[in-house]
Symmetry: C5
Subunit: 329 residues, 5 copies
């Protein structure tokens, strides 16, 4: 969040005849003329607006004071709020470049117009804008289909994120099973856990928003667009399913990591025990022949010394063999 986000403002209107008109920011106060025209669909998209921009937009679209406050404060929970003449939808897009990987979008829907506000330039807007401007027919043609296009692009942005997380969990699992219980893997587990919790935090209420759009009798979702919103809802449920599976897998990896650590401790202790025994037995033998008794016949034997060494070597060989057989070495 070091660089200030690029500010932008676009106002597009598509008339009934399919012609697309673009209004510069200066003529923002003429928007109501456009929205009053029958069959004209107006889309205003603002990125990183200043406080003054927000105030101007609020006046022009007669936004509710609470909606304005949300625009100022940001960090809202995904939600669908219904004011007298308007609806507000708050959603989040996955943007890997953003500091917490998420980009907030506020959308306001009124009769014939949709206003979307974001704080980072996201590919989502460009994609939808291309569809809106280029295709005379086939592009979104009601506020309902435009809202769907935006939400659909937002939801689709989570799939690559989940794929990355899935790969990182697979890599973690492999590393842990290979016994690499290093500190990095623990930091990675905690990082992924945090990521999944954050994804869950925005995706669960987004699913509820999709469901509310489907279930409540709102004029923006009509019979022909209902299957699209159902599809949106299905996708969100699928994404949430994945998030929950990854959480479970992550928990299993953490458990496995603890088990691997405990296994490896057992292996180390077996080795310590084996080393201790292997080295202490010849030390004891050396100690015995270091005693100063007057009468120790072995000390006088001509081959006493090599024999003692041989006995020590034999003790080492026997104990090493024993422990190797038990798998302690």
């Amino acid at each position: 969040m070091t660089d200030p986000p690029e500010r932008s403002f676009t106002c597009l209107a598509r008339h009934l005849d399919g012609s697309v008109e673009e209004l510069p920011k200066e003529r923002i106060d003429e928007i109501d003329k456009l929205t009053d025209r029958d069959g004209t669909l107006v889309w205003v998209s603002a990125t990183a607006p200043t406080s003054e921009d927000i105030a101007a937009i609020g006046r022009e679209f007669r936004l509710h004071p609470l909606a304005l406050e949300d625009l100022h404060k940001q960090q809202q929970r995904p939600k669908l709020d219904t004011y007298e003449r308007q609806h507000m939808v708050v959603a989040y897009e996955a943007v890997p470049a953003a500091p917490d990987g998420l980009s907030e979008i506020h959308m306001f829907i009124g009769a014939g117009w949709l206003l979307s506000v974001t704080w980072t330039a996201t590919p989502l807007l460009d994609a939808v804008r291309d569809g809106f401007a280029a295709r005379r027919n086939g592009g979104p043609d009601t506020t309902g289909t435009l809202l769907y296009a935006l939400l659909d692009a937002a939801v689709d942005s989570y799939f690559p994120v989940l794929d990355t997380i899935s790969e990182r969990i697979d890599a973690l699992e492999d590393r842990v099973l290979e016994g690499e219980a290093d500190r990095e893997s623990l930091a990675e587990i905690l990082y992924l856990k945090r990521r999944l919790l954050e994804l869950r935090r925005v995706l669960a209420p987004m699913r509820d928003v999709a469901n509310a759009l489907l279930r409540r009798d709102l004029e923006i979702v009509d019979a022909s667009s209902a299957p699209y919103y159902q599809d949106l809802y299905d996708h969100l449920v699928r994404v949430l399913d994945q998030v929950d599976i990854y959480r479970d897998l992550l928990a299993a990896v953490l458990d496995a990591r603890l088990t691997v650590a405990s296994n490896s401790l057992n292996a180390i202790m077996k080795r310590l025990t084996a080393f201790t025994v292997v080295l202490m037995v010849p030390t004891l033998i050396a100690g015995i022949y270091g005693m100063n008794f007057d009468l120790m016949p072995e000390l006088r034997w001509p081959f006493g010394y090599p024999l003692a060494l041989a006995v020590m070597a034999a003790a080492v060989v026997v104990s090493v063999t024993y422990f190797r057989r038990k798998g302690w070495f």
Copy 2:
């Protein structure tokens, strides 16, 4: 997924008089003539269709754009989608040979016809096809009974999979209780955990689909086929119950494994302690008689050396006996 799946296309029509007609793929555009005939049940089954096949099928059956998109993308969540004139059911069959053990099936149901699309050749289709083609009477005779036959075969495919998992958990439990806390058992636990999570991911929404078919007033499930769909639902609930029990058992096995590892560590440490004491006591005695004091009467005793050895041996015997009694050896 190395071999390309075998492509196939079958169009069967059973007329009111029980006669079964098969249409080659080339005459796919004559399907609407068949479906228009009163009392004729048409079943089109496509395996591993190309993009062009999907487009052709889509045109012929007037599939909804979202349904077509799902056919192209695959990897859908099991669901029941209702479009204007059609229903779409997505389900999964357990196919041990498939890379993730699951095979996706998309089924479209319209007035008098059912279209099923799969991406691997599954025994399910053959079984249902035999029933459809061979038995003049008694085979599925409405889209509702045909859909049931397909879903029932899909659900039945999970029982052997669960039996295998159950046996593997039993084997795991035995191995863990015998103290074999090896790395393979941990990999096996993680593998089974993943399998169960994947099964849960497809089975829970399939149960919801079965429930939706029962509860919602759809024309495809009439009074006489309701008990069959109830049975389907019961089977799915049973399978899910088992999946949950296996998850709980697996978690218990993982816990047991940690406990076994900690027990075995205790045993190792007891042995290390016992070894250390058993070997250090005679070493100390040898050290004492290795001291160079002028006046050490024992050193002059004729039986000093054998006596010292006897004391060492006694110390070893006493300590070994002591630790064996405590069960540390």
Copy 3:
């Protein structure tokens, strides 16, 4: 399941005047004459029927194909299925002698008759049969009260099972708190966990069946028998509460076991440390006086040797006292 279960077949009819008539198996095809008589209650009870028996029964009572399939396959989930003219209830009785401790019962209820099928001879049937046959008045007098009598006996069979489990958990807890973290206690924990999961698997749907009998408007449960079914439901909820409490206690015992093992490891390590220090200090002293320096005045002292021994003894006494004070011995 080594011995084949004893096959049996009983058909009892109680007429309005209280007289009880028994029909031999051969005259099974006369059952419909009995059920047609006004006010006559017919109870047919079959144990371990062969496939042919099932087919014959199915024909006589006009059972639904799915119900017949369930009879053939067994291992159903407890459920209440409603077919056109009949209801089917599947329940489980706790039978300690059975391989998995459970015995399946299928009950079919029609107008004036009840058919119960089991696969093991259970005390339940005898108890209910005595009530049915002996008491002219007071025994079950409608299909509803007969069904209740069977289900009530089935539910009551779980109480002694739970008492046994409770005692075993208490014994486990005592053993674990006494520090006996042996392998048997772990196997016992896993066994009880499995038992409780299996009990939960049959008891939870049985509770749902009892609830469905109460809530749905079925003709078999009338106003006067409703309190009895409410009682049945209460008992099932109580049994399930106990199962859940035992699961929680078992989890706590497993946690406690791990903690006890970790405590005992600490005690062992403390002892190892203490032993090592206690034995190494005199060994070091012996080593010092085993050095061969020309000028070591102590070696020449007349009481050098006993003094050295005294110092060693003092070191042992001091370190033993020190560690005993710290509680490491």
Copy 4:
């Protein structure tokens, strides 16, 4: 439960004019005359009734056979059962002196009368009886307010119990954080866990009973007493909240205990390592100067011995300082 509970029987009737009449046990068969009088509230309270008492009471109040069975068997789940002309409420009071800390109360409510049966003499009954008998006006004046007075006293009895548990958990937490991972604290954790599970087992259904009294249209809870039952419900929810919080805290304490044990193991092992190194280095030096080479110049040095001792001392000081800096001592 060694002493037989004191048997008692009280029958109080308050007439419309506020006068209170007490009926001796012998005249139990005149109760119906009292209950028939308009505006008279009759409260019969029996403690530890014999089987004959229960039979007599059952006859007098025309109790349902199932209610009678519950009175004989006891150990019921808290519940609200509705029979034709009566309601039965089963609840539990916290009685620290009772073996499992709980005392069962069965209450039967009919038109103008309430019968309460307990098996231990509880302060609850005395408190409510004082209110009933003493105050002409202001005491409970309908069966609904009398039932509330009894249930309210029962619920209030849990607060001191929870306070005690809270203090014991605080004490446990302090002990565990101070590193006292003794066996008593583990037994205490298991004991508290069991206590909380038992409290949950009776409190959760009592909350459901309170809710059922509020929600269902029962004549015993009228508009003016509804806030009181709402208050009862709120208190039960609060008590259950506390129970759940204590369970969570207890689980955290158990986890903390394991962590403390593992910390303390680390400390012990560090000390063992330090001791081993500190003592082995001078032992090695002593061993070197104990070698019997002909040519070891140091052995001839006049200050060889004190120098060797000095080197040993230096090694000890250096290693002790090193390990102390690392915090291993």
Copy 5:
């Protein structure tokens, strides 16, 4: 809670013309005159009232006996109680200075008046009071908006508390990942766990209160204030989401801490093993040349001693290098 809280009492009335009148405590009995005036909004705010104050307030506002009891006892669960002519809302504000970080507020709402009682002087009241008194227009102008203002201020007080908790968890995670498994971090984990449980205990029922205000048809929440209450509800859900995420993160940190401790134990044991081997090998060599055999040629070699030292040094270097390569040092 050492200092007695500052007692205060304020009665403000804003008339239809926007004029604000303040009534001293002595004239508390004139409140009903104010509330009777059309369009006058009366707000009475009492802090730390004595028992007599509560009794006086109760008389003046005709509070329900249960509401009075709650005022006396305090420590209520957040709730919305509806009495005949009044509503009572109990909520909690986060006040870092309070002993348990929470300050209780009871609010009573009648026709045209709102009474709020607190037991600590909170900034909340001052903020709302300023808005009430200063702004002639724009301040809360119905009991519904006044209640919202109070609740909104209460909810906003949790955000800084959660931010602090979030920072402390982050700090904990960093410390744990750096391997600092000290006792303080464990105490911190337990403290935060307790804090989060306490927050959950008041926030979950506050969310239910907000929901009840929205859903139930209460006259205090009209169409124009509904979006505000919806906003309140959204904020509470967001706060609860955060609390749950922090609980999950805390659990992960505790798990990580155990894993770090187990890692560090492995490191210590590796070092102990390495130290033991590194020091025992030269000790054994020294022991060998300390033996007293007559014929040990090496002892006679002129360079025997330096050679022995060299061999010891080599053994140390080799073993140190070996263990360093394995990462055990």
